[in-house]
Symmetry: C3
Subunit: 369 residues, 3 copies
């Protein structure tokens, strides 16, 4: 190699000092959701909703094709923002007010824009600060079926790029974004009854009892596959895929290991809940708030449970009802001599994720025979 | 979390005591076979048949599109039954009389029904019993090309849910299901000769010699990827993907490790055999019987061989012939001081799989120049 | 198993003594590039070019659909040759004169032919020799859009099959293959400006400065997933996926571990370079020469940098320019007591790959506002 080369250190992503109030970031790339992505991630996450598995079932309900599960829509949209927002993040802190809109079908192209709402330097750690953003994802821009598919705010802990960079805090109001879950019309009851077995026999509106905690039965061990699963979402954030970088400075990163992208337990918990709350809904309406409460590493097993908070009629649709729930993800860590009610002997239970989740559930009265 | 919550332990899958004679289970979900699934699993399994790789080759033979290999059709159909039949299984014991029907193309939607034929409590282990079922998979139900793609019986060892559940044994006759391998018509020889190089130069009807054992040349190491490959088939059976559950009770599960889903060596052995028997067939007709004879764990390498049992003319087609074979899968385990003819020094050979397999092979006389 | 069976050891692939001068190999299989393959591999390799991610962007530029990145086209074509050329190889030595042609879209079927140009026995190792080949990949043979997509030569180190086989060396001239990168016409500047954010803000013709070395910011740790990624390309070469074979004779194989298929760091380095050189090009024109300089194993992290060698106007297109570069891949190995300028303390830097790469870059003057 030529000894006289001038080395240019390319940077990707922004640092804390790069964000300004009201700044609009039109994220690079965009993503056409392919069959391949739907299969790989939708299935990995234990997504069991027949809208995402069985085209004849989805069409019988009035959708045009297989429907991407909310977990996948969230991940595709979220991942588009990583390059500009969290490439240099330490941790994603909170999801706020995530609302779903038009259905996403294989072949749809998602593009995302983000507005910077706020920056707050950390009091305890001078090299960090919190960034508050609002992102909106649209599909098929410029075509006749252009539509908003998702909008949300999030707060993320981001590193400063230069140690001496001066950070001025700010906070502005989020935009009001018109985004409501698209619902197919109600058709003929007999058509639904004919295919009701495909959705399973649980999780209808009448089945939910506020004040119960549904302990979902399945668990799933995450392996080093998380690296690839994160990459196929175009999320190149280094904490998930660069072991060498972690090796050089283990203290700087959570736990000193590769951090599993939070979207993975997020999607996995949604999937695990499916047979009990999900598979007989017409979708997720709103995630009021969500956060990761402990990191996850390869080798650990994810479990989930759902607390039913409340339910109410749908204002316009007699065939549907709204259920407010809280989804929890947990794992078990070894804890010698430990004896906890909520864990097997020798283990303690660690909560990794929680999400306030409103769903639109079908009523048995209208969808089953 | 609210301390007064009533915890509901959700169950998935049936236990031994849940099965009754003649019970029909219309399995939930169904599955639209996507490009993504065909690529991931069909390729992982070393499937080399150009019908599943090369669309122009498949169409030249009279198929409408790429054709899913028999291993994938079997896995998609089988996995649809897991939730209801073997979610709580200890081991899959035997495949019986598996017959292939209409071709499965990307975009086809597979749905499966199972009839319970028998239950037999275990004499040696009071917490187990054997369930005998018959499953039939159809594609594109309700459309003009609805057809049966696969039908088979299987026996599986299932756990009791309640230790004190009383199991009454029973056995009824299987249904007669009309299912025969669809064959494209014979076209113009010159068209086949033009593309014969794509199928390779072995495995034609004339090449098979009863009384030979074909030792296929390739091996394939299975890694922790098996967990994901199993998940994309919608097979959520916990023994394949929940390491924590295994850790809590290693004795209860085979080998105390995550068990690789048997469908993986099944598909892998079929794929490994392809260049020698498979790639120049028009498909697999019948698997009379098949079983797993030893478990497989991540890190182990799968090999295969095929015994040619017999061959005979096809009753109606002069361009084809039927070959009866037996496919064996094996691996090598370290065995200190061992010296076996059929293994390298220091290793012993362990059979993991066997399958009686009838194929319909093309004749050189009609397909090559 | 029948004790009187005659065992037939099936061979796959050719050995050094099987190659003759001018021999044409029409490779078996062929491959229809599916959505699934584009997603899995295109994304794994950090491919960030919006032509391969965002269908509306690709169509706005005049392509018919998502475009397969050059790394994927190269891998699909190369892998078709492995069965016949390098199934029994020890190492791939050099890529020579790789030129890209027509764009490859999902659904296109690639078939490859190879001509044997030369064989040279090794002086130092009697069981090895070098084979020199020329391969040409076409898409959609027999249809109205049949076209050459790639042509290249390569040299590979192949084992002898029989220890006593006598190898006569030879060398003939490569064919002149008409293959030039297809370029869409230049449209209306305002259309490009409207979507320029999707391509990012770097890597235009004007940005490149000969005599600089672009140190790309991302790294990527390769895991055991490499086995599956190699398999989905239909590359069944045993050194990548058969740990048992390696265990039996560690000295014979590079490093005694599973060797990561060279195509993986190849594609990964191209992807890593994307945001800095790639995402604002209309494609890669020519790889004059390329070679792997050190092996890669699971657990290692790949980095890349690009040296800008020269740039010049495009002879016909005022909106484009040609940039000559050299892409380097490297990793860091632990080296106790080491203190190198170009590595962190305690590590040494090892070059794993280099590739002379000419790209056609867009000019800011014509594509940005």
């Amino acid at each position: 190699m030529n000894e006289n080369l001038r080395i240019v250190h390319k940077k990707t992503g922004n640092f804390l000092e790069d964000f300004g109030p009201g700044q609009i970031l039109r994220h690079r790339g965009g993503k056409t959701v392919t069959d391949g992505l739907l299969t790989t991630f939708g299935d990995f996450s234990f997504a069991t909703h027949p809208f995402s598995k069985n085209r004849r079932y989805a069409k019988a309900y009035g959708y045009r094709d297989l429907v991407c599960p909310p977990g996948l829509v969230m991940l595709v949209a979220f991942s588009q923002t990583v390059g500009d927002i969290s490439e240099n993040a330490r941790a994603n802190l909170e999801y706020i007010n995530m609302r779903f809109g038009a259905p996403v079908y294989p072949g749809d192209t998602i593009e995302v824009e983000t507005k910077i709402l706020g920056v707050r330097p950390s009091s305890s750690r001078p090299d960090l600060g919190i960034v508050h953003v609002q992102s909106t994802a649209r599909k098929n821009i410029g075509s006749s079926d252009e539509a908003i598919v998702l909008t949300f705010e999030r707060k993320v802990q981001v590193f400063k790029g230069a140690a001496d960079a001066k950070i001025e805090g700010f906070e502005i109001e989020p935009d009001a974004i018109d985004c409501e879950l698209w619902l197919p019309k109600y058709g003929a009851k007999s058509d639904y009854v004919e295919i009701q077995h495909l959705g399973g026999d649980d999780g209808f509106f009448e089945d939910f009892e506020p004040g119960t905690l549904l302990a979902h039965s399945r668990g799933r061990t995450v392996t080093s596959e998380h690296i690839h699963l994160t990459g196929i979402l175009d999320n190149t954030s280094q904490v998930h895929c660069n072991q060498h970088m972690i090796d050089l400075d283990p203290e700087r990163y959570l736990g000193g290991q590769l951090v599993v992208f939070g979207g993975i337990p997020f999607a996995l918990c949604l999937g695990i809940s499916g047979p009990d709350i999900g598979d007989n809904t017409l979708g997720d309406v709103l995630y009021k708030t969500g956060r990761h409460t402990a990191p996850l590493a390869a080798g650990e097993t994810v479990y989930a449970s759902t607390e039913i908070l409340a339910k109410r009629d749908h204002p316009e649709r007699p065939d549907l009802g709204i259920v407010e729930s809280r989804l929890y993800g947990h794992k078990f860590d070894r804890a010698e001599g430990a004896d906890h009610d909520d864990a097997p002997p020798g283990y303690k239970r660690t909560k990794i994720f929680e999400l306030d989740r409103d769903v639109i559930a079908k009523r048995r009265s209208h969808y089953t025979g």
